[in-house]
Symmetry: D2
Subunit: 350 residues, 4 copies
Amino acid sequence: MSERIPAAVLGATGMVGQYFISLLANHPWFCLESVVASDRSAGRRYQDACRWLLGSEMPEQARDLTVSPLGAPLDARLVFSALPSDVAGETEIEYARRGHLVFSNAGSHRMDPLVPLMVPEVNAEHAALLRDQRRVKGWSGYIVTNPNCSAAVLVTALAPLHQAFGVRKVAVTTLQALSGAGYPGVSSLDILDNAIPYIGGEEAKLESEPLKMLGRYRDGAIEPAEFVLSAHCNRIATRDGHLECVSLTLEGAPSLEAITEILRSFRALPQELALPTAPMHPIIVREEQDRPQTRLDRDQGNGMAVSVGRIRPCPILGIKFVALGSNTMRGAAGGSMLNAELLKVRGLLT
Amino acid sequence: MSERIPAAVLGATGMVGQYFISLLANHPWFCLESVVASDRSAGRRYQDACRWLLGSEMPEQARDLTVSPLGAPLDARLVFSALPSDVAGETEIEYARRGHLVFSNAGSHRMDPLVPLMVPEVNAEHAALLRDQRRVKGWSGYIVTNPNCSAAVLVTALAPLHQAFGVRKVAVTTLQALSGAGYPGVSSLDILDNAIPYIGGEEAKLESEPLKMLGRYRDGAIEPAEFVLSAHCNRIATRDGHLECVSLTLEGAPSLEAITEILRSFRALPQELALPTAPMHPIIVREEQDRPQTRLDRDQGNGMAVSVGRIRPCPILGIKFVALGSNTMRGAAGGSMLNAELLKVRGLLT
Amino acid sequence: MSERIPAAVLGATGMVGQYFISLLANHPWFCLESVVASDRSAGRRYQDACRWLLGSEMPEQARDLTVSPLGAPLDARLVFSALPSDVAGETEIEYARRGHLVFSNAGSHRMDPLVPLMVPEVNAEHAALLRDQRRVKGWSGYIVTNPNCSAAVLVTALAPLHQAFGVRKVAVTTLQALSGAGYPGVSSLDILDNAIPYIGGEEAKLESEPLKMLGRYRDGAIEPAEFVLSAHCNRIATRDGHLECVSLTLEGAPSLEAITEILRSFRALPQELALPTAPMHPIIVREEQDRPQTRLDRDQGNGMAVSVGRIRPCPILGIKFVALGSNTMRGAAGGSMLNAELLKVRGLLT
Amino acid sequence: MSERIPAAVLGATGMVGQYFISLLANHPWFCLESVVASDRSAGRRYQDACRWLLGSEMPEQARDLTVSPLGAPLDARLVFSALPSDVAGETEIEYARRGHLVFSNAGSHRMDPLVPLMVPEVNAEHAALLRDQRRVKGWSGYIVTNPNCSAAVLVTALAPLHQAFGVRKVAVTTLQALSGAGYPGVSSLDILDNAIPYIGGEEAKLESEPLKMLGRYRDGAIEPAEFVLSAHCNRIATRDGHLECVSLTLEGAPSLEAITEILRSFRALPQELALPTAPMHPIIVREEQDRPQTRLDRDQGNGMAVSVGRIRPCPILGIKFVALGSNTMRGAAGGSMLNAELLKVRGLLT
């Protein structure tokens, strides 16, 4: 790759923004050009405005960038958004209108009928919606979203099963990590020696986003998948990695062996195209009776692989298993990055 | 109570044994007379043999008792068993044969058709089985068991609903505390910043014990309840308190209001009889959207109340809610103690 | 006590404010009359304005009180202040000027030469300063402060040793609990699987406050004690309880036995007067080689006792030991309450 | 490196043993040939005998090796020992007698006057003792030890200061990680929401080992350094990384700037020789007021760098700072490996 494509990061000082910056620092196709954040940070050097939260050191490229305010003009056409939902809505539209290609991790536009909600292994064909989006909205740029972190893990595990058999019902209970709430997020006093069986808005997202993603693009719209989802969402004291206990009904009641084989052999477009952020195996099937475990498996495939284990019969719905994935990588910054990589290869980063 | 009934504790040095000793130290009807433990501890003073794990200080009554070996003759007719399952089976039978009244927290005899598996608020009438047990087994004593900790919490929440409406299906995912695994139990290296989606044998117990408990005593046997249960069991980094995410189907699809009212107004025999260990309300219904929480609610009713919250519709099974109870009190030592109190009032401690 | 003295709590919605309210709810001498908090909460009912953080339920007396804004006129003459330092300074002066008797947990006035910095077991005689304070400042009320949480634990352990032998040097390293930082305080992402060797301003307080407290009142001023202190302060993932590793030099190099006996037999004015919040033993000496431990010992004496253990020789300074106390009780709300109780008995609550 | 030197690991199934295996799997000079463990594991395949605890997957090279019993004949001359102290003593001597070159992480022989206790950055010249060891003991092999984990971190930070100025007194309080206790090690019930101010034997090691390491080899013996050390050792709930609060007296009272510069510019033989496991900087000086932190800094230099921060005056001893290092890498397996690398370059692996 002779020349890397410059990119901006919106919400650059937050936790997901830092993951974007970290991914861009070592990306073969994209590079960091601008950082954008709220007025509190604007005008300061990134290294002064940002409390760096990741284990690695803050990348050199970012240190001396001056933080631009939200809405500031940007040279980079490619934009990754880690904005909080309350400001993402308007800001992202404004940038799309000005011709920027916005890859957003925010929730604001995910359920907009003209905005692709995409996981490249699951519904790459939804990118077709971008043409409709631009036409109808009159934007020279566009907005592509990736799902909520818990939905990203679930839909990756469901995708090959839906394709092979058809999903009918899914009951899921999550054990979600602290980083899913951003920084400072959950107070240590609320979570030490505790579990909280509630995450604001999470169950609604988890019960709706997979239906859009597993739906079909037809004539300028997504026809959602027609199965039913039910979610219990819990916060527990883990740093990263959402663990999900899934019970489901598949059409035709396939055998455990058939299900296991479908999951294990799952490959999709990002693997065929060898996209830089794509894991070799989007799903890793574990045989051990006590895996996947949050700490041991969240970093599989650089945080982009979803681990599935304990595949066994469910006396009520037919099948149960445990799925686990990184909420910060597969469920956030890595997901957006993979979307951009896919559209680049497809010639749609223009 | 002029004279307190002497009691022995089997498995006295373990965590559940310590809870038994703590409860007996302040009990109005029973008092601690003997402590029994494995050969490693036998012959030593209790305070030397036991690494005391509870927040309170070791009770004076226990300190200077000499630990008896398993199977040693006991003066106390009343026996509480906190033995591990691998030794509980034979040892408890031997004591029952010798005329002791064994209240066991161990799993060994729970599913024996002649052994009551009892939670006094749920199935006090199963005590009738004791007459059959003694007759058939030819024992002068008897064995009464209380359920596995996760089953104790679940069945308490289900009991009033089963009675009022009839339970048809129950899907439950648990977030279980470390103390459920005993001491030393779970290594800190296994659980810090982690969740483990597997607890050996737990799902099988949770899928079967409630059916026996919600069954009917008829002609010397328990006819199990005829609904279906499915469980996912997880270990998380909390000290005490099992949190359970429950989805269920009730007959006749009652309203959320009707369900809430049935749970809230639930009272049973232990409350009518004002048994010493009985909580005023066996079930506490929380209105807050983020309760019950493990740390905040596990000690309700001295650990004997089960807290229920987030009662809401489930798109698959009809209803969902979150239940929480103390695994060490309602789910272990307190449950056994309440069984003994019930049988005392019923004149069956003889 | 026929009639209880009404009291107001400043900063009532924060964590320390909640401890004040909890203590007042069951106090034999004082009762809660008003709650005062920042503008954000003012005008709302306490139960709506406050996210209750303690394990117990919110007291009935507090639920329906309307939160008054900072500076609002108060009927209660007795005022407990849990204000953050940045607003405590002016607000507490204003209330003292208006005739209120302010018992403050804030840091603002602790080192004011005319304000007693008091722990009743340590320096009850510093109350004499109040006469000077009122005269010089011209206030009809007054301000009494209690020390920083880590200093409260340390000074309680040092007091009997200073009195018996004279302290010359103290090197202390703390392992401090999360609740010391208030709520929401420390982000869970900052402290899970981590220790932070820095707490803003803490070392300076811990190196100066004990000198004032162990000093002498003479002619309207406190002559500070003349020894030297050095502190390392660390934050760790515990809920409550500051553990302090102390090395010290005492005059005359007394034996370990003499030191142990002085600590064990320590009683002071609050014990003689049997003040309601006073622990029977202000210091509890542990013999076990691995005690005190944070979780096991922080609630000794209802959180008002300081536990000391591992008393042993230090090859550099002479003696070393480990001290532990509750930062929320002995180190915050309980400390203020005990000050007010002492002054009541002394006839100074007028 | 054309041919890699085969090595055996003693105590291969434990936590430190697993780190040895992990390091050997990717080592440019050494390779894994045999695994040795207790009788319980002997005869089984490594992957069946070992519960793998590290985040990475078990290396392919190890999976199918058959575990040999302690004392079994070994082809590999190079031996890494992660044995527990109670069996290390005899076993390591036996292997040295048979001609093996034993690099031991166990405590048994560290204070033997003829056994080098080595950290290559600190006292590489102590390797001279090996000739004396072989001669006096009559062994064809030898034993080299690395220090206790907390001593390894401390001595690395002290070494350049001792060399530049001379250390006179060191008071250290540690906050040590769970992995230092091995696996299963510390029970989760003992450490959740707790700190334990005691680690068996640790303070004695920390107060003696640095004196041997900072001593001088002369005429077949080590003359220990002549300063005094005092230690408080605490266990806290972190996975890896020992944090140490250090106060010290240096000769000549050098300035903070001089001390900082000496630490920052420290390089030693492993860096000059570019040994494979050596970090580029053995000491990393942090400028931030709240660093080093356990989680953020323990993996610096692949766990082989010691981070030092908060260098400031100590009113008692002169200087204080905070040091942090990985107990599993710099303090255990990595330390042994670096010793072997050094001796290889020196031509002493023969």
